[in-house]
Symmetry: C4
Subunit: 490 residues, 4 copies
């Protein structure tokens, strides 16, 4: 916790209680009192949740989602009003632990008994609060794309070659020119602190240990600088970006990122608005009465979706012409995260992007979209020339070493793993490391059993794509056999 | 309730009881006594159910299915015999509430907790009587088309375009030239009063609020004029038509419709006879002993199907040549509801129809027919020229905003939603509105996440049809590879 | 029961008991005593089951499977030894009703509540003994063809035409030139007496009432003459034939058939040996201790399969050259029952057969064979010319009126329904009639809803075969893409 | 048990106990004391499990996995230290039977009630210890290839020809020129003693009785000589080979094999490292505390996989150039076991192999690989000429006589059956025989019902491959439609 200077005012509980309206709102967090009246309208989580603690101690609700330092860094100096002894604040009637709190000291299975990615999901479902698990695991409406993502990899058949010397195998990979011990990275996922107090810090530390790359979420629980600090010197980080309706804030973030040594910006393009994740919405809608989103449920007909609330600041007017601005401000390579058609991958190359992350947001944005693997194959048919112009990454549904090798064999430079890393946080840094080792180990095995010894040898002939080839659409905007045209064109 | 003039005869219970045979049959409804002897043969629900209450008070059974005013409007003045105090009629042994009565005051979940179309079905299943739910939810024989309808939409993959300014989106649509706030309408579905006392009136009111179009069922529980009256001045209504074997009755209905300002006639062409909906038939067959269909079960080997009983008046000799008559009498645009092949869509254009509603009656008519979506694609292959000649609507299986956009992207002008609206009636008008808002909201989200801002921009390139393309048959009556010919030709 | 002449010897229980060895074996059946010593080796069900009752009363076990008259007709006059009062025979310890006995007076659901073919199967499963249901319902090994048969019809999509006058519909059909009120017939199925005491007689009577054709099973429980007698004068019967290893017996049967007025012979060609029906085998193998097959289980390593035991007399050397003999002896049109390739259908035409019944024996012979519907489509591709040369029937998996119309639209003259008729025997003759009416009614509905009014109008354009078209193999014995050839050729 | 010479030292329990460290380790097995200090590092099962019994009686743990004679044959004369009376060794606290011990005398169902391959699996699951069943039944990661193997056979449709004289049928086959009574053999599977004390000896004896070929596992529980001895004189055996990192050991084995009359060497090429069989790994990881693998779990983060532990000695540097060495040393025909592409089958022919066994190791090595049947079809498209150059066998997923005939009809000379034979060992030699008879019987039936009388007549025209034809990839290393190339080439 940051230091409190000597000449800090000491505030009484009575004084604090006087500031409990939306026009004059103070709250206490970790013994410090802040005037958040002007911040109410800027809070990504909405004002209602803050107002619930107006004139009161908000520490517990705050800690569930935020890093200790973030409030201090976010508010101006003059909004800090003084300190208070929280014990002097009268206790409200004890509320039962809400769905946002992880289940208490039920012992986790020994980490060494977790053998596969799925095992982490099973543990997370038991350990995390209902709300947290719903927020992480949910996907858009009927979960069809979520399922299709996983199936798209499983339905690719491997064609192992035999009798090759596979004693020594290397899985290291250059990603955007940076060394990585493996051809996969941690895809950005919001609010890791819901899973573990160390949140994104634990991921950063484990990525340092394992020498893999983390793409930091724009909605991380911890401030960017803390996450970068948690890593090793020189550790490679990328940053996910949601462009803020207040562009100035985005510029500040990009400047900060460059100064912190972030190596690339991944502009999220598949979520100009949040997807409809009903499992997430339902918790609140049905019985979510605890700290964080309780108030939200009272004033929102759509439910209590954490994902939706957090997306309120996103600028849905973002378009291709804005890319120049992002590149200019950040002075960093720009990737598009969430490209879903060959046509857009081609446009990305034309607009000078360093690469694309083929993704449908883990099935969380729009349901029934084509899986990223289909888009990758579409690129082979529609615009193979872009393989030489930008790097192509892919995520969504990758759960096995076999999935990773398939993606690489079909031309991806690297793949992203998202939800599984959030689940692995049930064990903090150690869990993230263990998951990484499992994936590395499976990839090594897959390579040996497939007859290749270096990631760079992975080639399309290793994969039988016949089960999904019929899904590849060509012709871009036009169906070759459809002559009808809509009234308006874009 | 309509006024009773002063010089009305007061009838005693003994007097009423004297008229309890099929040759002399009086019943009491809402304190009024009618001589229904001549009406017995005309009752769409059959005579048996009326005879059950011959010489008795039929109010409760009447109210389960009919609007208060309909008996008065239907019968001639001289059939009204006088009034009676229902309390003077001796009570029969109390019968338990039958399957036709909705379950009692079990509290519905708060409307705001219903997030998706499916949620309404779940509530309806709990709240409606077994018989009502069976009548609404049932489909023909093995439910294969019912399932295929839903799957046909889900199996279309969306191909979202990114980085387009989607801040402002419009989902308004011209339907037959009339403004609609959304490109969907309420498909006609019979007997809404089984779901809620306000029945079709509630739908009309909600459609007025939401500015969408209602196609009024030919088998509505309320008289046409009441439904139109329930709407706002100038509100757009279409009317579904089953042609009556007594053509004169159809002419009366068409004249009335035009006078009431109905804007189009949807001639049902996929149900010259009713489908075999076994769930509907079974309730009676097994244990339906309550008011409405009790008697039917005793004299019918096929079960107790409400749908079948109601279809008795339909003229199965209706054919293409009759369309001229309908157009002449109604002086309104005529649509064919239930077109299932490109060939018939083409004929509809040739016969001067204003449009077609591609539909298989929600899978309720004939099982294992091709889904309407396949027929829409067939039109693209067989007769794309008709897109310029008539409007093409589609219904059956639409449950999501994604479904709606897919249909529009593939050339439909509008889509219909049927069963879900019946289910939404569990909450009356408010439910209809809430369902409408959910669909609008999902459609807006789908558009933003797909990269289009106006319905008119929806185009085939947004949809990957590869999962169902192989189902598109061409060649009309001939299979290109089949040389065998039947003995007789049509 | 047949008359006993006056000068019949009366036999005592002690006397009977003396003849209880395989070298000297008498049994009593319905108060009559027979010397079956020489018959032991000829009994289709094996000798063990008879020996179990050597020197004893075998009436109950006999009645479970045989018609009253069959023993008297089968044995020679001198094998009849006299009469006995069964009550004088000492009762053995009471045995519980075995799996071969139908469950006792549990009341069947009212026949009018059975709406569909499946309903009969459900009733039969409850009502029949385990052994009987297993014998009827079982199919070869993994039941894959059994399932595929049903699916092959369901996966055909209907393409209804609308706005045709369908007020009057005719489903009557000429089958081999004989009038039938419907285009379907009763496929032969063995041992109907296990289902109902009237067995095949009930079927014959109902077929007379309904004016449809019955193909009498070669393994019927009743003698052929009894079955024909049960019908109406002039009623059309066909006869299924398994050629007996003792050809003389087959010649006798064919002569008898012609003399009884049978109109055609259906030579079973898909069962030179019985299929492996494990459900049938298992009952005995596991816990079948009752009358009929108890003994069999003790001396047979393969289980207790009724189907297998009954097939022991079949001549597996039967081949194309034998057809001339069958035609010559029977002087009747000959059909091949169980043709499974276009090549064999073509051969059938060349060998002068009147027709073929495309069938895989209801999936009971060999598992994973192609469904008959695929064979029908194969004929269209491989040898469409045979449609003009012979009649093509089809069975296996037909459960709905839609299934029937699909088969006819694709060129079949008639379809067979097998197992469902056995199940319908739970209600005897009445059940057979009710099932027939359901199928007729469904077929009429399917025609009206499809827009045809006469069976002869059914044409391929009504059916979308796209879901199974890829299964049609052409090239006969050669795969076009396979060059490898086996060492030996047929 | 081998004889103990008179001048053997008698060792006391106290003396034995003194040698209980990794630097000085004695154990007692069947009353004989061995110094295994130098053997610790060579034990295929790892040293930990031996150390657990250092200075103690290891007989029980030894017997669970090893043949009585193997220790004596493996160790040098001087490592035998003397005898001990095991009763003098103080009993440790009684441990409950661990997961590695088969369940006690629960009576097995009578062998005659087992009708199909699946029945053996069901019995094995009940009878075997959890660990044993997991080791046998497990497959790689998500079991997709395991399932696909079985489905690949089931999805082939048979096309039976009718009216052929099938009275006499021969299923005998020349396999590599050796007579076999059937066209299938026992595929090698490790550690049969876990299933039955007689282990591979029982298989050898039954194969002798049935005149079929056994491929002896390189990881058999019994020494090669014992297994060969168990057979009849002149009985045909093949030997599976895993090449040992210490090549000298492989040479010794090959010499021994030739001297014992082994007829061919099957070099395993699909398992340079073990597959990830999670069911196998999990037993230990979760609760495996018994004898054999208990210690392993304590020092291994990946679980307690028996398969993985046993594979430690395998030389993953093995490659095509090593084949010459194997041929030279063994002077026997060499087959490659585990070929998974047409390209490698072609290479095998070029390298002078006698044949290939198309296999994916029963789905146990790498998951989501293409089924062997697809590889067989691929060979027809890619390199049909090799059918004349080498013999092609296939295994994985064969459970029925129909599966066998399909493989032969498509060009395989013989097929292998693996897991089912391990399961049949629940009944020892008798079980192996019964299983063999079931398969022979099913094959005979399949042939009769398909219209062929000799295995050599089986031809591609008998099989409809349309359900899996789309899976056949051609073009070898190149996808015809993919232009992208990886950085490195092999």
């Amino acid at each position: 916790m940051t230091e409190v200077s000597e000449n800090t005012t000491v505030i009484s509980a009575e004084e604090l209680k006087k500031h409990s309206t939306s026009g004059d709102c103070w709250i206490a967090v970790h013994s410090r009192v802040y005037d958040v009246t002007n911040f109410l309208g800027e809070h990504p989580g909405g004002s209602a949740i803050i107002l619930k603690y107006a004139g009161d101690d908000a520490t517990q609700a705050y800690d569930e989602v935020h890093a200790p330092s973030i409030i201090h860094r976010t508010l101006d100096r003059e909004q800090f009003k003084g300190t208070i002894d929280p014990l002097t604040i009268p206790k409200k009637q004890q509320v039962e632990p809400g769905p946002a709190q992880n289940k208490s000291p039920e012992k986790l299975p020994d980490l060494s008994t977790l053998l596969a990615v799925q095992d982490f999901e099973a543990v997370a479902q038991k350990k995390f609060s209902k709300k947290t698990f719903a927020f992480y695991s949910s996907a858009a409406t009927d979960l069809i794309s979520h399922r299709d993502n996983i199936e798209s990899f499983r339905s690719l058949l491997l064609r192992p070659r035999v009798l090759r010397n596979v004693k020594e195998v290397s899985i290291s990979r250059k990603i955007l020119g940076y060394d990585s011990s493996a051809p996969f990275f941690v895809s950005p996922a919001a609010m890791a602190k819901l899973a573990h107090p160390d949140g994104e810090l634990a991921i950063a530390r484990a990525c340092g240990e394992e020498n893999i790359i983390q793409i930091i979420s724009n909605n991380a629980s911890y401030p960017l600088e803390d996450i970068v600090d948690a890593g090793r010197p020189g550790q490679t980080f990328f940053l996910q970006l949601y462009v803020n309706s207040e562009r100035q804030k985005t510029e500040e973030l990009l400047n900060k990122a460059r100064n912190l040594g972030i190596k690339a910006i991944f502009v999220t393009v598949d979520a100009p608005i949040p997807g409809k994740r009903e499992a997430d919405e339902r918790i609140s809608a049905e019985n979510f009465v605890s700290a964080m989103s309780g108030a939200v449920a009272t004033n929102d007909k759509k439910g209590g979706g954490l994902g939706r609330v957090m997306a309120q600041y996103i600028d849905s007017s973002l378009n291709w012409d804005d890319l120049a601005w992002i590149k200019r401000v950040s002075r960093l390579p720009v990737f598009l995260k969430g490209v879903q058609t060959a046509a857009d991958a081609k446009l990305a190359a034309e607009y000078g992007c360093a690469g694309v992350l083929l993704s449908n947001h883990g099935g969380r944005s729009l349901d029934t979209v084509q899986p990223a693997m289909v888009t990758l194959l579409e690129i082979h048919k529609e615009c193979p020339e872009i393989f030489g112009k930008l790097e192509i990454y892919i995520d969504g549904g990758i759960r096995r070493g076999t999935d990773i090798l398939k993606a690489l064999a079909l031309g991806a430079t690297a793949v992203g793993v998202g939800r599984p890393y959030l689940y692995s946080l049930a064990y903090g840094e150690e869990g993230v490391q263990h998951l990484t080792e499992i994936l590395k180990d499976e990839l090594v095995s897959t390579m040996k059993l497939s007859g290749v010894t270096d990631i760079d040898q992975a080639h399309p002939g290793m994969v039988n794509t016949s089960k999904i080839e019929h899904l590849i659409r060509t012709g871009g905007e036009r169906h070759p056999w459809i002559k009808w045209k809509p009234k308006a064109r874009l």
